[in-house]
Each structure stands twice: as structure tokens, then as C-alpha cells.
Subunit: 368 residues, 4 copies
């Protein structure tokens, strides 16, 4: 019943529906003394804002964040940080029709089954608008992690059948094209592909890849709190995600031990390194100091204007063309959501790890 909280130490609780008063998040457990402004959070929210290209919903929203608590004189106080973004551009009338039937690929039917009824306006709580709170909180988590040298690079790896070419990888390109791909050629091809999809009222899926750098070795808790397990859970909690893999992922299933094991060595400075990174930076659920690399598969946007078969609540088989303002592909806008969930996962794990050794705990309190 209570699934809107994420994290144990850096804990967030999101709230809000697509067409309600607004959407928001309460962050509980952010350490005190972190400089924080609304502008810093806004930068993250702007990355997920709709209406920035012809490949996202024309629904325009300012999505201006407001800090309602937990920050005093420009710094976090250690108490809950409440962030809110008010809804502005609701056109609920667009959605009244869907009260009566179940859109394929959406949660309309399952919400009704679970709760007995649902807020059908724009998908209610199951709308992608729910991710606003995640992104706002993720900005704060990333700010904290930045001080520890942990950074995030996240981008679109493929859209439909069009994937980036590793040989052309260019991180600077990510923010230059509307599809957030680090390969200008792939981005151009993907735009052509999407154009075709849109002409037939269709949509496309895609894959997002993330690289987390600067994570010290030792983060993650053995058994059920493994860092990859927490990351999998975090990313899989984003609507539309259907697959998650770390390092070589599904390829590793086809590999042998000899090809998949990453050999350790000490470099000339005496630093322990790995010759390869098939593991994706995590061994036994604990970070090994190398880059953490992961991928998430997103299904195509289920809201399409092409005609589909479905049912009404009242027992009829019907055909529908889903109205409303939709994204032909959600993947580029989801990049910042994936990055936010990664940051939240890392922030939680980093705080958890502080008490791993008795000597360090003792040292901490002796030097208070």
C-alpha cells in the first residue's frame, strides 16, 4: 500500500498526480550543511521538461520547483526538504473519455483491479509526470555526491533499431541533439526513424546507458542490499522499463569465465586496477572502484494515435485511437530520470557504508 518511498538513509517520498494540484517530493535524510538552491534543482527538471522538441509531447509546462522546507540560509538543515512543482497545463477534458475504457499498455486496468477505481485524468499517479519528484530529489542527491567526486554520464544508446556506434562516441554531442545520443549520425538516423513512427501514429522504445564515475570501492551491502540489486530496483521502478543490465549484462550469459573475469593488476603507481570492466564496476554487490556501467530498456510509449483493440469497463470490446498529447518516444526525456534514480541509489548506499567498520565508528566519535 505504501510504495511511494525510496531509500533507507537518503529517503524520498513522492506524491502527486498528472492532473491534480501538483507533484512533489519530501527528502528525509539529506545531511546538513549542503549548499542548495532552487536553481540547481531546476536545471535537472528542465532536462525532463516536455515540449522541447517535436519528439516530445507538446504539453507545455513551466515545472518551476519551489523549496518548501529544509533549507535555511542557502544550506540544508538536516530536516526534511519538501519540493513541489505545481501543475499548470492540465487539460483534463482530453482524458474524460478514458474513464470508460482501458488503454492498452497502460495501468488503467490494473489500478482499477487494485483500488476499485482510479484517477483517470492523464493516467493519474501512473503518469510519467510522477517522475518530477524523482528528478528534483535526484538533483539534491547528485549535489551531495559531487562533493565525494561521484559523477553521472547518462545518454540514449539506441532508439528502436538505431543504436549509437561506440567508435563515434562523443559525450559532448549528448546535449546537442534532441535525442540525447552521444553520436550525431545515430541521432540523425533515429530522428528519421521516429518521423516514420509518428506518421503512422506509432511510437518507439529505446535503451539508456549510464556511467557512474568516481565511486570509491566498498559501496553496497552484501546479500540483499547489493549495489547492483538496489540499482536494478531503482531503475526498474521507472514506468516503461522492461530490462536492466550491468557491465556486460546479458552478453555475460554467453561468455566464459576466462573471457568474463576482469584481471586485477597494480599499475606503476601501485594503484589496484582491472584490465577490463566486464563486471561494470561491481563485484559481489560491492563497488570495486571502477566505472559503474548499466543499461535500461524502455518499451515504446503505449499512448499512440493508431487504432487499437481494447475493452470498456462495462464489458464491451471496442477499438480506440488514444487522444491526448503524447511523446512518440519517452526515452530522451527519461535520461534525466534514470540519472536521478542512480544518484538516489548511490546517495543512499554511500551513507549506509559509513558505519561499516568499528574502528571508523570509534574514530568518528572520538573526534567529534
Amino acid at each position: 500500500m505504501s510504495g511511494s518511498t525510496f531509500g533507507k538513509n537518503f529517503k524520498i517520498t513522492t506524491w502527486g498526480e498528472s492532473h491534480g494540484v501538483g507533484v512533489g517530493v519530501v527528502i528525509d535524510g539529506c545531511p546538513a550543511g549542503l549548499p542548495l538552491t532552487e536553481d540547481e534543482i531546476q536545471t535537472w527538471l528542465d532536462r525532463r521538461k516536455p515540449g522541447q522538441s517535436r519528439f516530445s509531447t507538446p504539453r507545455k509546462e513551466d515545472d518551476k520547483v519551489s523549496i518548501q522546507s529544509g533549507v535555511f540560509e542557502g544550506r540544508t538543515t538536516g530536516t526534511p526538504i519538501s519540493l513541489v512543482v505545481y501543475n499548470k497545463n492540465q487539460r483534463s477534458a482530453d482524458y474524460s473519455e478514458i474513464a470508460s475504457y482501458y488503454r492498452p499498455g497502460h495501468a488503467d486496468y490494473t489500478f482499477d483491479q487494485k483500488y476499485g477505481f482510479r484517477d483517470y485524468r492523464g493516467g493519474g499517479r501512473s503518469s510519467a509526470r510522477e517522475t518530477v519528484g524523482r528528478v528534483a530529489a535526484g538533483a539534491v542527491a547528485a549535489k551531495l555526491l559531487e562533493r565525494l567526486g561521484i559523477r553521472f554520464l547518462t545518454y540514449v544508446k539506441s532508439i528502436g533499431p538505431v543504436a549509437i556506434d561506440p567508435a563515434r562516441f562523443d559525450a559532448a554531442e549528448i546535449c546537442k541533439n534532441p535525442l540525447c545520443m552521444p553520436d550525431a549520425q545515430a541521432a540523425a538516423d533515429a530522428q528519421s526513424y521516429l518521423q516514420t513512427c509518428m506518421q503512422s501514429g506509432n511510437s518507439s522504445g529505446g535503451i539508456i546507458e549510464g556511467i557512474i564515475t568516481g565511486v570509491p570501492a566498498g559501496i553496497g551491502e552484501p546479500v540483499f542490499g547489493k549495489l547492483d540489486s538496489e540499482l536494478a530496483r531503482a531503475i526498474f521502478s521507472i514506468g516503461a522499463v522492461k530490462g536492466f543490465e550491468i557491465g556486460d549484462g546479458f552478453e555475460a550469459a554467453r561468455a566464459t569465465g576466462l573471457s568474463n573475469n576482469d584481471a586485477f593488476y597494480y599499475d606503476e603507481t601501485g594503484k589496484l586496477c582491472k584490465k577490463t570492466n566486464h563486471a561494470g564496476g561491481i563485484l559481489g554487490g560491492i563497488s570495486d572502484g571502477d566505472d559503474i556501467i548499466y543499461r535500461a530498456a524502455f518499451k515504446p510509449t503505449p499512448s499512440i494515435s493508431a487504432k487499437q483493440d481494447t475493452v470498456t469497463k462495462n464489458g464491451e470490446n471496442i477499438s480506440v485511437c488514444v487522444k491526448g498529447r503524447h511523446d512518440p518516444v519517452i526515452v530522451p526525456r527519461a535520461v534525466v530520470v534514470v540519472e536521478a534514480m542512480s544518484a538516489l541509489t548511490l546517495a543512499d548506499a554511500v551513507l549506509e557504508n559509513m558505519a561499516a567498520q568499528a574502528d571508523i565508528v570509534a574514530h568518528f566519535y572520538q573526534h567529534l
Copy 2:
């Protein structure tokens, strides 16, 4: 620091190391009145027992489970169920050597980084032996779910490059071959492949697929408690898992909305059905009543006898051949672990869902 607990309602805490006194689990939150015997749990443990074919470690273990609490006169009492399996066949001498160096692909290095030292005997807590507690608890969860009509079919889909042919799928075959594959031909081919791996002191990865049937619609909590998110986390907490997908998974990223959406319809009896099941039985994080289908990618066993480069704790670059009794492929023995984690996830979600509607809560208490 405290990662050995899984679940919120049907909550388990595992303990134990590969070469300590034993391994065990405490289940807290199992409803009262469930008939339960040691034999029922033993059946599950026997499925993960090593030494049953030439493709698993020759380390022989009886792995006899003992119920230490929570069951009275053959039924669960609602209080914690403590289950223990004592270790019998430890040959710690095999492992004393690995105290000094870090095995590639293992958690030796990361445990040292996190905790300052480690129980190096047989991998200690990061040994696959840790899964004994999961399997024992999973047996209890499955027993509970069986009464609700929820059942599990889990098998090996591929080993290295050898995958089953869906056209030859035969569930009855799963328990007939040592690789737990539902396709006799693929099982034979995979055995040949493994034989080759073993000859060169190498190992193989593979993919496990699971189908959960009989799950009523409505299970799973929106946002961060989505059923697929919890399942991803559960499966990803198993050592060696590098990828997880549900329904069409990574294939969905290449699909279009029109091909990926599952059309609803009412059948002749008036039952709501889906024409396809690309979603894998979950929509918006909530079960839709259809079969839940998922896959997990396992990396190759990292313990191989072929020579590898690595380092000592003390700064030397060395080459090693890892000794000990290892599985050339862990995947067949992991089938029951995956099934156990699925059962634990479902049991937790099923109990969570009971209070989703105020009318049902009121009805429950009015009829006590």
C-alpha cells in the same frame, strides 16, 4: 551495513558463511496456520544441492534443514520460523591460500575494501552457499502461495551459446536432464559445450527463465514498490546475475507501440484477457492477471582452474589457478534460487495488497 533482510511483510533474514557453523534464515511474517514440514523445505534444498552431476562442484553436502521455531503441531504459529542447515563438508585448507590474493570475478577485494578484512574461507558470506537460506525460505513462501493458486515454473533457457528452441519446449523435460532445460536436444548440446569448457579449466554463463502463473490482477505497489521493480531487485540480489528483464525485455526497446501493446478483449465467458503478453504480466508495476514471465542473465562461474592474472593483498602482480571444488556452470543449480526469490517477492506483495481498499479493510474487521 544491514543488507541481509529481504521483504517487508513476509520478511526473511539470512545468515551464515560457507565454512562456518552453518547457514540459516529467519522468516518473520509468515501467516499462522500454514501446514509446514521439514520434508517440504528439504525438497527445495535438494534441488540446489551440489554434487548431483558432473556439471556441479563435487563438494558433497547433505544440507539437511532443521526447523528451530515457529511451527507447532505441524502448522506455522505466526511467529518467526528459524531454519538452519549445518555445514558438514568444509575443507577450509583448500582456501587458506586465497587469504593472500584477490580472485578475479570474486568479491575478495571489495569485501576487504569495505570491511577491512574478510572471512576468506570459501568466499565466506559471498559464497553461493549463502543461498541456502533463500531457498529454504522460498519453499515456505511457495507453500503459502500455492494455496492462492500461484505457481512457479523455472528453468534454464540457455547455457553459453546454446539456447532452447521454443518449438521443442517440454516442461516435463526440465527435471530429466542435469541442466534443467525444457528441451532435451538443447540440454545435450549444452552438455557438450560444458565438456569443452571443463577441459580447458573454463566455465560458462547462462540464462534462467521463470513463469509465474495464477497471480491475480492487482498485486504490486505503484511507484517504488512496483512488482517488476521488486522482482528485479530480488533476482539481482543473487550473486552472478548481470541482467534481468520482464516480458519482451530488451526486445521491447526495439519494438513500436503498435507491436508491443497488448490488446485487451473479453472472451466468450466475459473474462478480460490480453491477445498477447509482451508486458510479461505486469502493467504500471501491478500484475494484470496474466502469466508473469522474466529472465535473468548469469555470468560464468568466476572460479576457474585456468591460469589468470591477479594481485596479492601486498602489492604483487601474480598469476593463479584457483583451486577448490567449483561448478563449471552455476546456472542449473541457480534455478531453484531464482524460483525462491520469485516466491519471496510474490509472498511479500500478496500480503501487502490485502489492505489496498478501505471497504475490504472494513469488511475484514466487521466479520472477525
Copy 3:
């Protein structure tokens, strides 16, 4: 770090400071379909509103609650209910002085020690204003419990040395006097006593008593989730509470087994009853079907205008008269806070109990 969440099933997270934008709460886990209006919540908030008598701070606040999510067409949807009350009557200037010194009996010093600095305006997060979120959430919990027949009667039992006389107990009197005492004579005496306190710039403590009726037998979880343990925690989380007892409480320590045991009997209708209720309605941490009776001791308001010795942050010993608008006694306004925390505790426990028996779980799912 993350102490602003209460409850496991009916889970609330409060946020906000005395002189920030506002105070609020997010309720996650309220069952769907519960009719709920802002007016119903407002009724509860009005009971804690300051400025209603000469015995509470003259700081005037409208404290109008706004539902921001989780309610659709007048009913809860099962998703998070976000409630906010904006701050209106802040006079932060009153408090700038206290930035430099530590008020005796307040959390100024301990917040500085924990967090390195603090939002000093009006006590920031440690202000009694923090309880607005609790009361708003408590109103929703009570609404849910009302449908199960569970009701709350909460009142002031004593103020300073003036206690109610059980022989004069009159529940109807509670809302008739400004001190919420069920005894008009005691209320008059207490007012005289408070008048004396106020004349010397002093304040008074007091005791609140609560009676919860209609709780079915079986609520509460053995060992660490005992209903009395959860209630103790809930009530003790209210600032200024220094003692909590249930049933005969501290008196039971002076009693004998023979006098303290409550004899069971079947009445003429065959209903199991207790001849006495020394236990206060809870046996072994589980409700026994009888009234739950408890008491909470509140210390005197620490903010007093009489001169006190204290220290500055910078090492000086000083004397101060704390300025600002304070309550000479917080106890009457705390009545609704205590009731809210009781309701939240019960709501959480009632939902938790639904899955106690395997037969009931099975029955629930067979009749979906």
C-alpha cells in the same frame, strides 16, 4: 538522519519548520475508497489552533489545510495524500535574538551539536508547529478507524498539581472548557493555577489521558511490534512528553499479581470479558478487546518570560527572558496531537494484522 517518517503500512512523512513556507505531511498507504474532505481534516486542525484562549499563544494562524494529491472525486485513491498548511503569521524578527544563545529546555543546543547549525526561527523543525502534519494525518487515520468502530476519547487529566476527580468525570465537559478537562471544577481550579504561573512569567506541565474504544482483540505484533510499544513510541515522539504509561502504569509496579491480574469470564451472552482492566486493554502486546487506556506526562513549556541562566554559542554565561508568543501550558493543545498519534498507531497496526492467518489470506484471494 531520516526520522520524519512514522508507520509501516499507514505511513506518514511530515515536513516543515515554524517559520518556513509551511508545514505538511504525505500519507502513503491509506486504503483506497475512503471518503475524505478538507473540512474533516480541518476540524482536527482547529482543535490544535493557537490563540483560542488566554492559555495559549496569541500567535494567530488560520491553519487552513489543502489536499494536494491522493483524493479524487471525494475519495482516497490509494496513492499518497499530500496535505499542506501554509505559514501565515510568522514574525521571525521575534526570534533573531535566539540565534546567538541556547534556550534552556529547548533543542537549540542539541540541534547545533547534531547538524552544525540550525534554523533558529521559532525553533525551526523542533517547534510544536511540526505537529500540524501529525494532526492532519491523524484525522485521516481516525476516519479510517471510525469505519471499524474504533473511537478516541482524549482529555487533560491534570495540569500542574490540579487533577480531575474521577467521581466528577463528564466527557461532555471536555470541549466546554479551554483546558479540555472532563471535570468543570478541576478546570476552574487549573485555570486559577495557570493564572498564577502566568503572573510570574512561568508555565505548567500536565497529564493527558486517552481511551480508545472498539479495538478488536488481536491487534499488535508480538515482541518488538507490541501495540503498547508502538503507542509508547508514538506518544513519546511528541515534543515535551516525559512519561507514558498504559493501564495501571507505574501503579502496577506497586501491585501484586493477585490484585493486578484481570480475571476473565463469559457474560450471559457468552462474550468473553474481563472483570477489571488493570492491563489497559493490551495483553502480551496484543489488544484484548477491552478499552485501551493510557496516559502521557508533559513537561512545562520551556519558553518562559521569567529570567533564566543560560549560555551563548560563543562561550558566555548570560541571563535571558525568552521573548516571543508562548503557551503558558501546552497540554490542552496537545490533546489532539496525542489523539492523532494514537489514531496513526492504530491504523498502522490494524492494517498489519490483516495477514495474520493463512486461512484468511487464502480466503481473501479466493473471493477477489
Copy 4:
């Protein structure tokens, strides 16, 4: 359903029934590298052992603890520590009779109501024997805290009407008399009183007081994670506790702000001190560096041989004399249980506090 886990960071899960195989605890989250032996834990268990004087049950038990995991080469490894004590001296036959009726003051009736049936042998899970796991875990927590300079002094303050005289307080006396009272005269008087109770087949309640020294300022989380709230919950989770208070406790309700506030001052060394300690070492839920002082009220042992009225499960009103081997007073044996729960609460809070400040988190990771 799942109430047998306590703590968030230093997390324990207890299991076991009075007449089952044994009782135990799994500690998850104990920092690595803490030296730990079975003997150290045994010292604590020996303090709660029955049969040490004529004032406790003659049931003799060795209660030898065995470490089953989590300790390697004499130090904790950071993984779960499983501790078990096997039951030896069960005489279940003594209890078969109570299967049919409900003992007054016990949880027989409430367990039946909650779970549908119960393990009636010796009270099953609701037996005081359940506290073995708490005490064993408490020993580990105290060992960790000892390194931080945190120490516990716990004793019996009163038995029935006989209380210690503060003027005669002598800590060295606590372990010299069978009642654990720091006042030889009071101990003698209490023994006489108990003798009288026993002659009439009766029992007595009492009060335990605890003092925690060396707690640094800053421990405890505002709002719902207040240190006093967590302590109240911990102590109230011990069976038979009916009241808890901190500092002046219920006396504070009769006090005025002027008499109850503790004035701050800097002593000659520049250390911040309090002139008094009415608060009991906690302000706003956070430790203030002073001694933490609290009291717990225990009801009389409900098992008495004197005749009492009660009922059978089958609808009869009967009279019974409860057989078995019982303590005429549980309070002296509960001293170590109270101390254990205090240590567990503090250990959890101390670890939680480590990430309170962003600068400290950053410093921690920069110096790994």
C-alpha cells in the same frame, strides 16, 4: 505480522519459543572488526539466568550461547552474527493443562484471537524466555558502545512498596544482593516483602532505573526518531512493562517551567554543562551530552499459584491455580534485559547519526 526485528542500522531479529528447540537472534549491521567472544556474551546471559536465588523460577538452564556466524578470527566480519541458545530444561508436561484455558494477565487469549491457535507450552513466543536473544544481542551492542565511552548502569529501584533510598545509593551493592538493588537495606526489606508474597502464592511488580553515561551530544533523530521515543519503544517492547519515563518523567507534569528547565553554563574549562538534569539527558529528542536517566515500571508476574477466576477456550467459567515454575518477581532478572534494550537503541542511534553533516560525509570519503 513481522514484529521480531528491532533497529534500522544495528538490526536484530529474534526467534524461538519457550519450549522449542532453542532461542536465538541474528544481528545484522554490526560494524566489522569488533573483537567478540562467546564468553563476553555469556556474561550478559548469566545475569538473566533463572534459578540463581529463591526469588526466581527454579527452572535451571545452562543457557550457553553459541556464535554461528559473523565472527572470524575473533572479530566481527560485518556480516550477520547468528547467536543461539538451545533449550534444555523443558518440562512441557507442566503446561499441557493450559492449552485449554486462558491464564489471567497472560497473552494466551490474545494470541488465540490473533493467530487462531498458539504454542501453549510455557507461553511459547510470549514467554520471558524470548528475551534471551535480546540480551545476547545487547551484549554485542554494549561492546561496540564501550569503545565510544558509552556505559550502562541499571538496577532495581523498587519492588512493590519498597524503594531504594537515594541517600543510601551504592552502585557496588547492585551485584551483591539477589534483587539488584543499589541499597542493602532496601534489598533486605524487599526480600521480606517478597517472602510474604510467596507465602500467599502471590507475586510483586517493581521499577527498574537505568543511567547511560558517556553519550555524546547529538544522538537521536528529530520528530519520529527521537532518542527518548526510540528508548520508550525499546523498553516498552519488554513483556510486563506498563510505564516508562525519562528524567523527571511524570513528576515533570507537576512542575513549572522555571523549576523544570535545566540552566546551561560553561564551566571553568569552557565545557558546556547543565546545572540540573530534569530532562534526563535528552532535549528535543537529541542527547545533550548529560547522563540519560530513565525508569520502567513492571507489573507483577501474572503466573501465581493463588486461585484465580478465568475461562476455558470452550466457554466455561472456571477457577485455576497456575502450575509451573515461576518467578515471584521478574524485576531483578529483567535488569539485564532493560540494559540490553538500551544498548541496542543507542547502538542504532549512534550509527544513524554518523551521516548527519555533509561536511563529515565528504571528509569521510576523501580520507578513505
